[in-house]
Symmetry: C2
Subunit: 160 residues, 2 copies
Amino acid sequence: MTDPIRPTDDEARALARGLMDDATFAALGVMDPDGGGPMLSRVAIAMDPDAAPISLISSLSAHARALAADPVCSLLVGEPEDRGDPLTHPRLTLQAQADPVARDDDRFVALREHYLALRPKSKLYIDFGDFYLVRFTVRRAILNGGFGKAFVLTPEDLGL
Amino acid sequence: MTDPIRPTDDEARALARGLMDDATFAALGVMDPDGGGPMLSRVAIAMDPDAAPISLISSLSAHARALAADPVCSLLVGEPEDRGDPLTHPRLTLQAQADPVARDDDRFVALREHYLALRPKSKLYIDFGDFYLVRFTVRRAILNGGFGKAFVLTPEDLGL
């Protein structure tokens, strides 16, 4: 078999970082704590001051319960915008560990301000008691820039 | 805690089925065969004659290698179309088992015709030797119709 992974170059690094920076939401994959394997959902995302992905999630959600049991997860960002073949649109897979920033965490107040500035619509629910922030520590990323354009990236490639 | 899951009704069933029928692509979550937990990617999808999701994938892809090792997976369909809060747009999580329909499988010829009729752009690659079809047997679904509107659905609820 041909190895479909190309050598990482600056164009791939810039494309991947741009997909992260432009993302307002992502697919999140967690382990189903009831033994059902991977389980996907949609979450809002933004980038923290260190350029790492963060999300605001509810402790009532299935993914919150799953992340509490196993913080190893994956995100997919880069959404098709039009009616062309969606597989030609670049997308980025992140493999990560979810680090909860609870409401009583020392980091919460500053990170709440940061998130709220970037996502002002979240003011409708950010102060509900069941909402908290999650920071994703990226371990590895896979960029798919379209057919035959796959790259494996490190945190350093993403400026992390 | 309040149980955020509502009783399933016909409106939820119709919304969920509509999200499947309208989907041309999905996020796919598989288990990383290298032990990295959930791993997401984007796949093209369509519905087979029995209304089950199918996809055309390359054996060179990371998700194909993962599904060969562990067919338990998850799909997410229902894409935001505009600039509103993406979390208000309904989406559907499917928990499923991937059943490969290889090029030498008795079902391949008919399913290829069906897929090609629904996704004519795939004629550019459907006959490449590394591409094959996958049928997803849905075990359980979670519909998120927007904040506070979550439902758990059975295959029967989806007409499967």
